[in-house]
């Protein structure tokens, strides 16, 4: 009998049959099995596999580092600041020394307890010019950090800054363990709500809930971060139930998900803005009256409707600080064609003025915004000649070169955007604006420790910008994002960076 079974197993045609059976079995497995306790998030693999788990790296794997690491402080939904790894903090009267008290009993994923030396190390790691970290410029005001004892850290600043915690809520400012620089990009060893199980930035990265998390264990057990670079492919994956969340879809794609019981759509307001900027050091824009006229001609709600579609954005009054920012100055701005004409005549342009606007399809929105502007400005005798240049080389050969160009910025805190793009001599000062009053009130705002006074000072800087600056910022962009209906507790519409540990699935 044994010999017979051996013979059967050895039949040459038996193997293919088993293989075919196996393949058929594999194929018949239902694809979109929905596991409770699993969240699948798509991201665009923007660094093509060079993604690093070091939160300070220029190629950080941001989707993942946001859940692996914690910051000293965190932003709450009202724009204020909540404790994070630090439970409390004090500032000296001259706003040049900050002391943070750390939360006791917090552990890294590796088991190492969190101490002040880790915070000191993280900050110095961020500031190390060799790392080329994009937060280095944000944190440049910090001279050095010092551990007073195991749970107390002191920051010494180069110049007064009354809002240091606002800088430290930057989602990139995660706290890493002391001396982990060499390994952090692979281990992702933080204190965050999720631990790394497998790092595969071009495939599927696996994260697992940290049961000892200091804010309580996350509600979903596993997260898969899935690389899907193509936007259309992301939509298809979402529609077929392969992923649970899409961070941003355009208005046409919105129709696929609205009124569909399988999905939930959220529209969130952001501080991302596109704009058109004039060089204030070159004619005709070196005349403040011309700049003002150029801004008075815009019908902002109408521009939103024509360039973005209804609900695509919120009107802005040429300030880069967005309404969600605690320092936003609500100034109000209305279209005033007669006033614009009067200003132009005063500046010597009695028959209207010709201006050249350089733009490109480098951002889809640029062209439509330019065209709407052209037709709106024509009513005041401003003849806008649109020059569409190739997307290749737009940011090198045109932007910050020609005197009137399209631009776009992502949401940034007030202090950061005002300093990086509008202070005299700043490297991204695209309007070449140099105004001592403005620079001075920025410095004063930073020094002011009284929050009410500080707020009025930031409002003053924005007012100066509105009266004299060279940037046309017609609106802030809204973002549409989609969740699968499996997600039972949605994040707030005020969260641009979602706290995934609060999200639950069915």
């Amino acid at each position: 009998m044994p010999s017979r079974s051996v013979k059967t197993a050895g039949l040459p045609y038996f193997r293919p049959i088993r293989l075919i059976l196996a393949i058929t079995l594999l194929l018949s497995l239902p694809v979109s099995v929905t596991h409770a306790g699993l969240l699948r998030l798509a991201y665009d693999a923007g660094f093509g596999g060079a993604e690093s788990l070091d939160p300070y790296s220029p190629t950080r794997f941001y989707f993942t580092t946001l859940t692996l690491f914690d910051r000293l402080v965190q932003q709450n939904h009202e724009g204020g600041i909540d404790p994070g790894l630090a439970t409390s903090w004090e500032v000296s009267d001259d706003a040049r020394t900050w002391t943070f008290n750390l939360r006791p009993g917090v552990r890294f994923h590796s088991g190492k307890p969190l101490v002040a030396a880790d915070v000191v190390y993280s900050i110095h790691h961020a500031l190390d010019p060799e790392r080329g970290s994009p937060v280095a410029s944000t944190l440049a005001v910090i001279d050095r950090a010092e551990a007073l004892d195991d749970l107390t850290v002191r920051f010494h600043l180069k110049s007064a800054h009354a809002d240091l915690p606002l800088l430290l809520i930057d989602p990139r400012c995660g706290i890493i363990a002391e001396n982990s620089a060499a390994t952090i990009e692979r281990t992702g060893d933080g204190t965050g709500p999720y631990k790394l199980l497998r790092n595969d930035p071009e495939g599927i990265t696996l994260l697992i809930a940290n049961p000892e998390y200091w804010q309580g264990p996350p509600r979903v057990e596993r997260i898969e971060v899935v690389a899907i670079p193509d936007q259309v492919a992301q939509i298809q994956a979402m529609l077929s139930g392969q992923i649970d969340y899409l961070p941003s879809i355009n208005r046409r794609q919105l129709k696929l998900f609205e009124n569909n019981p399988d999905f939930i759509v959220q529209t969130i307001r952001t501080g991302h803005w596109p704009g058109m900027v004039m060089r204030t050091d070159q004619p005709p824009f070196d005349d403040v009256r011309v700049r003002k006229a150029m801004r008075l001609v815009i019908d902002r709600p109408n521009m939103i409707r024509l360039a973005l579609g209804d609900g695509g954005g919120e009107p802005a009054c040429d300030t880069p600080v967005w309404p969600g920012d605690p320092y936003y100055a609500d100034m109000g701005c209305h279209r005033d064609i007669p006033a614009a004409r009067a200003l132009l005549e005063e500046a010597g342009y009695n028959d209207g003025i010709d201006v050249d606007l350089y733009t490109s399809s480098v951002e889809k929105l640029f062209i439509s915004m330019a065209e709407v502007y052209q037709s709106q400005a024509a009513e005041a005798g401003i003849r806008v000649h649109i020059h569409q240049v190739p997307a290749d080389g737009y940011w090198t050969d045109t932007w910050m070169q020609e005197s009137f160009v399209s631009t776009r910025w992502n949401q940034r805190p007030a202090d950061q955007i005002l300093n990086e793009a509008f202070r005299s001599g700043a490297s991204w000062n695209e309007t070449y604006w140099s105004n001592p009053d403005f620079d001075h009130s920025l410095d004063m705002a930073r020094k002011e420790t009284d929050p009410v006074k500080r707020r009025s000072m930031y409002a003053k800087t924005q007012q100066i910008l509105f009266d004299e600056g060279g940037a046309i910022i017609p609106f802030y962009l809204n973002i549409n994002r989609v969740f699968s209906a499996r997600i039972s507790s949605l994040p707030s519409e005020k969260e641009l960076f979602i706290e995934w540990r609060r999200v639950a699935t069915q």
Partner: protein, 320 residues
């Protein structure tokens, strides 16, 4: 015969050199250089000069071409600007994935095309021919991305039988990959089948009306024997070239399919590297596609010469 084979080989090498010059020349002709293209808004100051000296952009074009092509011959394409890793390391797994997709589609598509082509040819102008040829015409005229989208809509989004896009760990084995690429495989096989099928059908019809088949029929040879012993060997010979062309198209033309299905092959890689303006990577992949195209055609030429007795003898009569 050897002489002809050699001549083909030399021609292939010349084509390759020509392609290399074009690929290099086109990127040279772009405004700016690889560094300004890549850095975009950040192309200024130290960052720009560091990038330029890293790529050796201070040397002359000719010098850089010989440098680049010399190292490319040894499989060294330098480092990717965006990915900061050796290009050969980036390309190797992508190349493997593209070959897996292409081969699996070919394994389904080519036999299917030949069988259907023979059926259509043998039963010319009958019902089965009309059905097969009709479908083939459709497959040829509808662009592959439309077919792909329709398949995704039907089988992934409505019926939820197969995954819409490929989501796989980077180090997935072939067994893990296959169940995830059913739709791209079907799409590719569908488009590919159409071309081969039509050539096969025409060739079978040609052969059927030839003297030797008539002769055999008159002699009373059974139809099955005529078909398999006499007709097919000579009818299938012309299909080798079209199969090769289709294979080459498969390997290089999968760009669209890979993109639609998020498949981690060379096609999606070249699209991403173009978006990233990562010119060294674009050049390397473009060259890879050229090598594949030329190699597959070369192999087909060799096969035709080796398999075709007439060509074989004529060649030896010509060239000794």
């Amino acid at each position: 015969m050897l002489k002809v084979l050699l001549r083909r080989l030399v021609m292939a090498v010349f084509t390759l050199v020509f392609v290399a010059i074009v690929v290099f020349g086109v990127t040279e002709a772009l405004p700016g250089d690889a560094c300004t293209a890549y850095l975009g808004k950040l192309a200024q100051g130290e960052r720009l000069s560091r990038c330029q000296s890293g790529l050796g952009l201070d040397k002359s074009s000719a010098e850089r071409f010989f440098d680049w092509s010399g190292r490319a011959l040894q499989g060294d394409f330098g480092d990717s600007l965006k990915r900061k890793r050796p290009i050969s390391d980036i390309i190797a797994p992508r190349f493997r994935n593209t070959v897996i997709l292409g081969t699996s589609a070919a394994l389904i598509g080519i036999p299917l095309a030949i069988i259907l082509g023979v059926i259509a040819g043998v039963y010319r102008e009958r019902f089965s021919d009309h059905v097969v040829s009709g479908i083939a015409l459709l497959a040829m005229t509808i662009p592959e991305f439309v077919i792909a989208t329709v398949l995704i809509f039907l089988f992934a989004i409505s019926l939820k039988w197969f995954p819409a896009v490929t989501i796989l760990p980077t180090e997935a084995s072939v067994a893990e990959i296959l169940p995830n690429i059913i739709l791209p495989m079907i799409t590719l096989a569908f488009v590919m089948t159409a071309h081969i099928l039509r050539i096969t059908r025409a060739s079978v019809i040609d052969t059927m009306s030839s003297e030797f088949v008539k002769m055999a029929t008159l002699k009373g040879v059974p139809f099955r024997r005529i078909l398999f012993r006499h007709m097919l060997p000579s009818a299938l010979l012309p299909t080798i070239n079209i199969v090769a062309l289709t294979m080459a198209w498969l390997l290089s033309g999968v760009v669209v399919i890979e993109k639609v299905f998020n498949y981690p092959g060379l096609g999606t890689l070249i699209i991403q590297s173009i978006f990233d303006r990562d010119l060294p990577l674009v050049q390397a992949i473009a060259l890879m596609f050229a090598v594949m195209y030329i190699a597959v055609n070369l192999i087909a030429d060799f096969l035709v010469i080796l398999l075709n007795p007439r060509l074989r003898t004529r060649v030896s009569a010509e060239g000794g």
